[in-house]
């Protein structure tokens, strides 16, 4: 990818449209941009980092910076009335949609170009504002079936007296680029403005109104319309689902208490012999008949109120020709009640007095227990989703923003890009940004899982939601609103938690047939017992019928996978591991080979100075100072390492003169009146420098995986400067642990075999694939897959994207706030290989838990149904009471949820 210097868009390299200018290669998205550049190239060359003629290593850095640039405000106006707009689009979920929207926009007259960026879910449109307005384009996008992301701002306006004020403000606002619509209401003195947050910010909008001579009140923050009702006085972010769950829990508990209170006397009078009650309460007595009548009446509210959800649920499902748990319970308790009522009111119907019985106790007890089970399940489920609640709770509410030289507290929603924010010790960092002034240590454990506070100095990234520990500092915001790392983590975790693991497919198949099958089993059991059972056959048949219906628990079966997945994914997020889906989680524990990208994964990813060797009596610091002075003029990443190395030693650097780069050899320049050569062996040979035994040292350094460069001063060999991409602190340990899990470890790199082998030796990797071009990484992963292996690939999310996608599991090592990496199945926020170990262990633990749940649920139903149907009766005389069945059913689903919650105690296994 390259960056179009004109529109700032990312362009697939090599592009059809390119220009060589001033020794550099520029690529463009379109002919239009290219022509513009040709006309006024100087206008577009701001930085020099737009050069796309880079080596693969440099590509990484280049692309990273291009990536960050994307979030900058993207509204540009050029003189001819051509405007560019970036419109965030939601619901771009699949590639097919892109073409439609693009084509639709392109069809509009006045539109010069339209390009949709799938990864960023945004449309970049270039149009002539004389022919068409931004609003028309947005409308077109909406018509194509997509939503444009807009923020809605409600602000109070003071000083409006008449209708003309309204029109004036509205018209003026609509002229603002990025404002999609504005409606001002005189009655309430408010304006409701829809705008694109990436194009315009609130202070700008307010500025427009104030310029017209009105006052604005920042009454409320920016929230999407949907959330409007939420903000009424609500300080805390409200999890509506949680509120609903809480309400449901309370209702269910009330229903349970009522059913339980009814159940007590009903059970008491149902077994007069058991308690040894006086004869007037015994079976056949007049008194007992009245009690039965009372019981029949009192059990009605139990069924129709405490058990109302069974009837409504069953009825709606029935209308849809489907059946569920409610169908089973509703059928069971209805059958019990009808029989009991007939026995109570018309006992004479039955030829044998023995046949008259009642099951009101069953109704009350079953309803009470099942309702209690449902309530407990909701409670336990709330705990299962704790992880995401914790994440949501991390979001800051206010920020101290420096505006107009003053420190003001503003709601976090009003923080815009490029704001300068002040953070004091102990405060929460509100959004993502780059530290501009000050120094501190920051606790990032809540995001990365890393318990040790991280030192931050100028130029370092800070992540919103983390806590500043010691010092005060200022930072410039780079991501706000839903683009922040935290917001994206929350979104990803939420999606993953509600996704499905493939193992669930078996359950889905079963679930569709489960309930009707149970009903059929119940009916057939009834017939069997009626025809062949002992006397009183009707009573036995009915008991079996109700027991079968009640004991079956589709809920335990259905809950088994999703609930464990939810806890597992949440646990991952707590440890800085973002799992994209249930599919990823399930596949991660199946892998047997793991491919590790060298640069940035095993190593730090940026070179640093490692050795300075001197000869011919030259001083090491002079060699370094002179070399660094030359390299200051160069843009090579290796040069940067040398300059940094010199700066760290506080060496004085000089301005190089007569700088000359010899392609493929090195550089020469005059520094501080001395002629300095810096380069490879060819460079030294070219200038007839005798190397004086430096050659062997250089080979030795190269064998260690370092990049040596010869330095000659005033025509004499002076020494060697070596730089290397050093191995991350814990890479070796992590690789050992991966080996212990039993994985084959393969290192892949574009570097030469010698460097690659040196690093491999350091960290203990046996198989090395060196000199692999970035575009061939995916093919190499494929090769391993062809060996019959399930392959995981660990790399960065940009250059390694195709390889990550090719692998069975792509794990992206996150860098700072870049967490939503499209190509990856799992993102490791911490950037350490240890995360890979943890991710695999977590996936194994979660899958084990899911299997326990599924086994438990299948086993329970497979065992429970035959027992309930009375299969044990002929052999052992065992017949379940429907009440026991009710208890078993209620607690089987609670057990599943409780088992899943055990995963919350997951810890990384030590050794």
């Amino acid at each position: 990818m390259a960056l179009d210097p004109v529109c700032g868009m990312e362009v697939k390299s090599p592009s059809k449209f390119y220009v060589h200018y001033d020794g550099k290669h520029y690529e463009f998205c379109s002919e239009n941009c290219m022509n513009k550049f040709k006309a006024e190239p100087a206008k577009y060359i701001k930085g020099d980092n737009l050069n796309s003629d880079l080596t693969s290593e440099e590509h990484k850095h280049h692309n990273n910076s291009a990536h960050e640039k994307k979030t900058d405000a993207t509204y540009k106006i050029s003189s001819e009335g051509i405007e560019k707009i970036t419109i965030p689009i939601s619901a771009l979920h699949y590639a097919a949609g892109i073409n439609i929207v693009e084509d639709e926009i392109k069809k509009l007259s006045g539109v010069k170009s339209a390009k949709i960026n799938f990864a960023a879910s945004s449309a970049h449109v270039e149009f002539n504002n004389k022919e068409i307005s931004a609003k028309d384009i947005i409308e077109k996008i909406n018509q194509a079936g997509y939503e444009t992301n807009k923020a809605t701002l409600q602000i109070g306006i003071g000083g409006m007296y008449c209708g003309s004020c309204v029109t004036k403000i509205e018209n003026e606002l609509k002229k603002v680029h990025g404002v999609m619509s504005a409606s001002v209401e005189l009655g309430t003195d408010t304006a409701l403005i829809d705008y694109s947050p990436s194009s315009v910010n609130i202070p700008e909008i307010k500025g427009v109104i104030e310029k017209l001579g009105y006052k604005t009140y920042s009454t409320s923050g920016v929230k999407p319309i949907k959330a409007k009702d939420e903000k009424q006085g609500a300080e805390e972010p409200v999890d509506e689902d949680q509120v609903a769950r809480e309400k449901e829990y309370k209702t269910l508990m009330r229903k349970f208490i009522f059913a339980a209170m009814v159940a007590l006397p009903v059970v008491f009078f149902s077994y007069p012999e058991l308690w040894g009650l006086p004869v007037q309460f015994q079976k056949g007595s007049e008194m007992l008949r009245y009690i039965w009548i009372a019981m029949s009446l009192i059990s009605l509210p139990v069924m129709l109120w405490s058990g109302s959800q069974f009837y409504t649920g069953a009825w709606v499902a029935f209308k849809n020709k489907s059946a569920n748990m409610h169908t089973l319970i509703a059928t069971g308790i209805s059958a019990a009640w009808i029989y009991s009522a007939v026995a109570t009111y018309f006992p004479s119907i039955f030829p044998n007095e023995k046949l008259t019985g009642q099951f009101f106790d069953v109704i009350a007890v079953v309803v009470a227990l099942v309702v209690l089970g449902m309530a407990l399940e909701i409670k336990a489920k709330g705990r299962s989703s704790e992880a995401i609640k914790k994440l949501i709770g991390l979001q800051a509410k206010t920020a101290k923003v420096l505006r107009g030289g003053k420190e003001t507290d503003v709601p976090v929603e009003e923080v815009v890009l490029d704001d300068i924010i002040i953070v004091k010790p102990g405060e929460k960092i509100p959004v993502d940004g780059v530290l501009t002034e000050g120094y501190s240590s920051v606790d990032e454990s809540m995001i990365t899982g890393e318990p040790i506070a991280v030192e931050k100095r100028e130029g370092d990234e800070v992540i919103g939601g983390t806590i500043n520990k010691t010092g005060s500092f200022k930072f410039k915001t780079t991501k706000v609103g839903k683009d922040t790392a935290l917001a994206q983590i929350i979104q990803m975790v939420g999606q993953a938690q509600s996704s499905k693991a493939p193992i669930q497919k078996i359950v889905d198949k079963v679930a569709g047939y489960f309930v009707p099958t149970v009903i059929i089993i119940a009916i057939l059991s009834f017939v069997g017992w009626f025809d062949f059972g002992p006397q009183p056959n009707l009573i036995y048949a009915l008991i079996v019928f109700v027991t079968v219906l009640v004991i079956a628990c589709p809920c335990a079966l259905g809950l088994a996978t999703p609930i464990s997945l939810m806890v597992g994914v949440g646990k991952g997020a707590e440890n800085g591991i973002l799992i994209r889906s249930g599919d990823a989680l399930e596949t991660a524990q199946k892998i047997n080979a793991i491919v590790l990208d060298k640069t940035g994964t095993i190593t730090e990813g940026k070179p640093s100075l490692t050795d300075v060797i001197s000869t011919n009596g030259f001083d090491e610091s002079i060699i370094l100072a002179l070399s660094a002075s030359i390299e200051k003029a160069s843009e090579h990443p290796l040069a940067d390492a040398i300059v940094k190395g010199a700066e760290e030693k506080s060496l004085e650097l000089f301005e190089p003169k007569n700088f000359n780069a010899v392609p493929g050899h090195g550089v020469e320049a005059t520094v501080n009146e001395r002629k300095v050569l810096l380069g490879n062996k060819k460079m030294m040979t070219k200038f007839n420098i005798t190397l004086n035994g430096l050659e062997e040292k250089s080979v030795q350094l190269a064998d260690e995986g370092k990049t040596p460069m010869f330095v000659a001063i005033d025509g004499q060999a002076a020494g060697i400067i070596a730089v290397a991409d050093i191995v991350k602190r814990d890479s070796k340990e992590a690789i050992e642990e991966l080996k212990k899990i039993g994985l084959e470890i393969v290192m892949i790199t574009g570097d030469n075999a010698r460097t690659a082998n040196a690093i491999a030796k350091q960290v203990g990797v046996d198989r090395v694939l060196a000199e692999v071009l970035p575009e061939d990484k995916a093919a190499n992963v494929k090769k391993l897959q062809d060996e019959g292996k399930k392959v995981a690939m660990v790399g960065d999310g940009i250059n390694d994207a195709p390889a990550l996608a090719q692998a069975d599991i792509g794990l992206a090592i996150g860098t700072g706030t870049d967490v939503a990496i499209e190509a990856s199945d799992i993102t490791l926020i911490k950037g350490s290989l240890k995360g890979v170990v943890l991710a695999i262990q977590l996936s194994k633990a979660t899958m084990k838990n899911i299997k326990q749940n599924l086994f438990g649920a299948f086993f329970y139903n497979a065992l429970g149904l035959p027992i309930a149907a009375g299969f044990l009766f002929p052999f052992f005389g065992i017949l379940l009471s429907p009440m026991i069945a009710g208890a078993a059913m209620a607690f089987s689903s609670v057990t599943v949820v409780t088992n899943a919650n055990r995963l919350r105690n997951f810890r990384q296994k030590e050794k």
Binding site: H93, Q143, A244, G313, K381, Q504
Partner: protein, 125 residues
């Protein structure tokens, strides 16, 4: 066998067959969703013990918007999942949650709740 037993047997087996037919074999009523002027096929689905309507017919190649409105608090129906499109949504009670799709290939695509107890189908022609 007594007369009662014979009657119960016939009745029982008959009911069992009816259950199998009703839940598995009988044709579900499908609703044809019209395309609005904007080109979107928009449907409203009430979630309460099931999806109403639960079988929807769409035209292939046009954007589809399904607005789910969940009118119950039972945790069962909290999620709706479209396996074929790797999509899911959490349905907040008493809120309209839209799901947008575009299906180019004619066929039948199922959707269901997290536990697979509630089911629905999109028929794309």
């Amino acid at each position: 066998m007594t007369i009662e037993q014979i009657l119960v047997t016939i009745g029982g087996i008959g009911t069992a067959i009816w259950v199998a037919w009703y839940f598995w074999l009988s044709e579900k009523k499908a609703v044809k969703i019209q395309t609005a002027l904007s080109g979107i096929q928009e449907a409203f689905i009430t979630v309460k013990g099931g999806y109403t309507p639960d079988v929807l017919i769409f035209d292939a190649g046009k954007p589809i918007k399904l607005n789910f409105h969940r009118e119950e608090t039972a945790a069962c129906s909290e999620q709706v999942i479209f396996d074929d499109f790797q999509k899911q949504a959490t349905l907040t009670t008493n809120k309209t949650i839209p799901i947008e799709l575009k299906i180019d290939k004619p066929g039948e695509y199922e959707f269901h709740c997290a536990m697979g107890m509630l089911r629905g189908k999109l028929i794309v022609k």
